[in-house]
């Protein structure tokens, strides 16, 4: 596969790993956060952590849009799904996320009309095909996905499709990174920056990380060579005493971002005054909602949702894992009470959740051993 296989070349991977080991000074302990859940997933799927020197520690960030949604929002979505005449649509990632009364899959097993879609456009098509039903699309994701929802809503309006609405749970990445940087006690040396969000927002929004906080950030692709090359670039910055925004993923990420995408976002969405994030608490201006002009396609306005705040079970340490304070195996429930089949929190079932990445790809014994270092 072009633009994939070249970046999985074994010889070049070994070379990049060797360069990382050469650059990592033995007297330092490096703490590098990969913000994006997709990077966490890639690191463990490709066994990259095992190639890194022991003093280069990867801290897993909160860049998993499903994981950061508090359970109450899932409950709100499922309350809509249970309404008669509603076809509730969502991406595959959402289907196993636990709500208070079960996951979407479990609700489906009990008779709710819930369907998985690959694209919000497919949900819109479903609405056109079923004029007697109301199709709701559960919109999740960071800025990578929000433009797709925006374009779908613009199309719905253009076509006059009245039996379609969006339950909007899009969140934005910059406030999350800022919250991490502002966390007392969080010591980080650098960031591996989100690759696909950056195709939309560009690289400029990360400048505050370098300028105000003095930390390097390298916007990275998702193949093994991308991630390893980003780590090389980070180590070089640290060795030189530089703190800059660099774009490792330049073949895909334009420095200025994607203008049509940003314009669509501006036209359809506005920022909520605040939004609750699992692990990070209430963050102002960190989530999107539909503008008044799109009120008739806003599921939250067309339907009444319970809007109840649900805290995670006490024993679950989802928030700490999301912030990077704990590694998944350090959560007391990991692999015992909390497994992909019986998840306590979303991190174990979202394909970008750190817990899921560890559970599926990392040998339990090896994970336990590496934590002792």
């Amino acid at each position: 596969m072009r633009y994939v296989d070249e970046f999985r070349d074994p010889k070049l991977i070994r070379q990049a790993a060797a360069e990382i080991r050469r650059l990592a000074r033995p007297d330092r302990h490096y703490r590098v956060m990969e913000v994006c859940g997709g990077h966490t997933h890639a690191i463990y799927r490709f066994g990259l952590e095992g190639l890194l020197p022991g003093n280069l520690e990867l801290i897993h960030g909160p860049g998993c849009p499903v994981c950061v949604l508090p359970m109450g929002r899932t409950d709100d979505g499922l309350a809509i799904a249970e309404l008669p005449g509603v076809i509730f649509t969502a991406f595959g990632d959402v289907m196993r996320v636990p709500g208070t009364k079960g996951s979407p899959l479990e609700h489906k097993a009990r008779g709710a009309e819930i369907r998985m879609v690959y694209s919000p456009l497919d949900a819109l098509k479903l609405a056109q095909a079923h004029p007697d039903r109301h199709v709701v699309f559960f919109a999740i994701g960071f800025e990578t996905t929000a433009p797709s929802t925006a374009l779908t809503l613009l199309r719905a309006r253009q076509l006059g499709v009245a039996n379609f609405s969006v339950f909007c749970n899009h969140v934005t990445i910059i406030p999350a990174i800022r919250a991490i940087l502002d966390s007392p006690g969080m010591r980080l040396d650098a960031f591996v920056g989100p690759g696909h969000v950056s195709t939309v927002i560009g690289c400029r929004p990360y400048e505050f990380i370098a300028e105000d906080f003095g930390k390097p950030i390298v916007v990275s692709g998702f193949e093994p060579l991308d991630i390893l090359q980003s780590l090389v670039m980070i180590l070089r910055q640290l060795a030189d005493g530089r703190a800059e925004v660099e774009n490792q993923y330049a073949r895909v990420v334009p420095w200025e971002g994607n203008l049509p995408a940003l314009r669509a976002l501006e036209e359809v969405f506005e920022l909520r005054p605040y939004f609750e994030w699992r692990g990070l608490g209430f963050i102002s201006q960190s989530a999107l909602k539909l503008r008044d002009a799109f009120a008739e396609w806003d599921a939250e306005r067309r339907f009444t949702v319970p809007g109840i705040r649900v805290t995670d079970p006490k024993a679950a340490q989802c928030g700490e894992v999301l912030k990077g304070v704990l590694k998944p195996p350090q959560c007391k429930l990991f692999g015992r009470e909390c497994t992909p089949e019986r998840p306590v929190g979303a991190l174990m079932v979202s394909s970008e959740g750190a817990c899921a990445a560890y559970y599926h790809y990392v040998h339990r014994a090896a994970a336990a051993a590496s934590l002792e270092r």
Binding site: Q15, P65, G141, S148
Partner: protein, 93 residues
């Protein structure tokens, strides 16, 4: 952040200019290319696909440049080892 895959544009769907047929390793799907409307797009171009939308154009030059940088990583290392083998130059560790 989310799953996005490189695909090759096979054809622009004629009467709906914002749709293109894209191919990934022999698998084809119609993809919305509205987000790339500011640039000329045609068959043979490679784009990054996410949830049915093309997010960005993939730069062949950018990819090649990156491969060159990656290959050089090894060369620096080999050159370094050669120098160390001669006994002059400083050991890095």
């Amino acid at each position: 952040m989310c799953l996005a895959i490189p695909g090759r544009i096979v054809e622009i769907v004629e009467d709906l200019p914002q749709l293109a047929m894209v191919e990934v390793a022999g698998v084809r799907r119609q993809v919305n290319v509205d987000l790339l409307r500011d640039e000329p797009l045609g068959p043979g171009d490679w784009v990054l696909i996410h949830v049915g939308f093309a997010m960005s154009r993939i730069s062949e030059a950018g990819a090649q440049e990156q491969m060159r940088m990656l290959e050089m990583l090894g060369e620096d290392e080999q050159a370094m080892q050669e120098i160390q083998g001669y006994g002059f130059g400083q050991a890095e560790h």
